[in-house]
Symmetry: C2
Subunit: 340 residues, 2 copies
């Protein structure tokens, strides 16, 4: 593991299974232990034994609560008084808002001006402050950083933070404990924080398990970067995909340093296959999965990953999608919908 | 329990917890053990501890598989060779078709001429034969009886059968084992077979638990019958409700004899509240519940049942609903949809 010149990383060993175990202890009794979902029709189609981790059942509707709570639970009394700030119009923003509300910490969430009213309402429902910005003159990171430096609030990034990654990794410890053996685990990749946490946990507790990432076709930055051996941006400059949680323009520096060591392969799926996967989850599994959460099922159903005869863990990462959008997607086989 | 002149029933004691325990042994390893779903937002709103039994995760998408498999597993070799016949365009038909397919038994399902193509396709997918009839000159029971007498096939009624009722009751044994104590259990009532099984099991293992049925406003036959002390038909002759699984015109004679002894109360809910409950399950619980399966959540959300401070079991009986219909219901607050 000292390959590829990651001297700093190996020296500090910043993301370890011990750190993930500590996170599991911290979130126990606050986060839900989401269990495992099995589906006979899916097994029959895939000719495999699929063990799905249903993070749509997690508090705030996605795995993001694990990392957010793990991070916020470690604030000092002074930091708690100063509050936190983050940038995300999606699941990370809602998760930070909920974790802050539980811990009695003030939170500011910087959202783009075109954020959906449903998501903004969910953040406000947790009494978090919502800040918009002008994309022509500012970035969301810049506005969040400005809030942090002005108010002393702690910036909680969506993935470039080892405690956030460690929190996400707790779901893999749960899955491994519940299913004993896995030949392959399939994980959505956006900025790479979920994957970094899961891969670190799995390599420690199920070392022979193959680790496969899935990205949308138009947001394939981690696949491209892994092949190049260094961080590259998405093939398309403005990724158009319904998987709104996986549109990160490029891997994080910290997450990529972990994932380049641990991830065996990354595959991509089309938006059409995501809609089919969401419909499959609706019709056969009776669960609500958002587009970003359905990439693993899509990769299995399309054959993008070979899983025949294997025991396969699949992370269903979240279920937050406005009713009208979900309705339009499942009612039609080929959507012409744009989420932003 | 010798009140109300149920001499035959007491003499034979046809539906007992022992019979339900035997059913549980028979379906073990074939039916799914569906576990328990909890939802913090629901608890907060209801000011109660709600423990939902998620039968949309059961094989065939509803609890009906429990009763159908329990009944078919007890056929003699001669009966297996002759096959089974039933009448139902909905969950019972699909459940019998699946149970028959698993056991290698031929099955005929009599469906109305206006049955949805999706449901008929689901029945055919299990290699069951589908028979329609002319409602102007025949009844579905008549056609099924004619098939039975002509071919020797065993008629498997949707609820007027103690082995079917015993199978449905197995879900209550699972719930009681998983949650230990319950103050109230809330159960959908159509023909009354699910309630008869659940009530018999609960009275045996959690004798102090209150047993509450829920019916759609326009299909309130069991509520009316319990108040009258004898079987009466629905208030409306042609119940118009989106809860297509709960449209039985009157309680079954066998199910009513059980339920009149064991059910503490029956409440009714509107179709509008069913849509709200389905949306709640979609948005907060991330599960797909069909209208008939949502009556318990609707009764809690509307306050039709008082549950404050209690531990409350709620049966979510199924999740079979065509994607286009589900989409229309969750996308709009007040649907103008008719299912048939």
């Amino acid at each position: 593991v000292t390959t590829q010149g990651d001297i700093d990383l190996v020296g500090e060993a910043p993301l370890t299974v011990e750190r993930i175990r500590a996170a599991a202890g911290r979130i126990a009794g606050v986060a839900h232990r989401t269990g495992v979902v099995r589906c006979k029709s899916l097994n029959d189609i895939a000719k495999a034994h699929i063990l799905a981790k249903p993070e749509m059942f997690q508090r705030s509707g996605s795995f993001k609560f694990r990392g957010a709570y793990n991070r916020l639970a470690q604030l000092t009394p002074e930091q708690r008084a100063a509050g936190v700030v983050t940038y995300s119009s999606g699941n990370h923003g809602a998760a930070v808002a909920l974790a802050a509300s539980i811990l009695g910490v003030g939170a500011t969430v910087v959202v783009p001006p075109d954020a959906s009213t449903a998501k903004v309402a969910a953040i406000r429902a947790q009494r978090a402050e919502v800040r918009t910005f002008d994309p022509d003159v500012e970035t969301r990171e810049g506005v969040a950083g400005e809030v942090a430096s002005r108010t002393g609030a702690v910036l909680v990034p969506p993935y470039e933070d080892y405690e956030v990654m460690a929190g996400q990794g707790t779901l893999a410890l749960e899955l491994a404990a519940d299913v004993n053996e896995l030949d392959t685990i399939v994980v959505p990749i956006g900025g790479g924080g979920l994957m970094a946490g899961v891969a670190t946990a799995i390599k420690a507790v199920l070392p022979s398990c193959r680790i496969i990432g899935v990205e949308p076709q138009s947001a394939d930055d981690t696949r491209v970067s892994l092949r190049a051996g260094h961080i590259e941006r998405n093939t398309s400059l403005l990724p158009e995909t319904i998987a709104d949680g996986l549109r990160a323009p490029q891997p994080g520096a910290l997450t990529f340093a972990v994932n380049r060591r641990l991830v065996d392969d990354v595959v991509v799926v089309s938006d059409e296959s995501l809609v089919e996967a969401m419909r499959f989850c609706y019709e056969r599994m009776k669960v609500v999965v958002e587009p970003s959460g359905a990439v693993g099922i899509a990769a299995i159903l399309t054959g993008a990953i070979q899983v025949q005869g294997q025991r396969v863990g699949v992370v269903l990462s979240g279920g937050n999608i406005a009713a009208a959008v979900f309705a339009a997607l499942i009612a039609r086989p080929l959507p012409s919908i744009r989420l932003r």
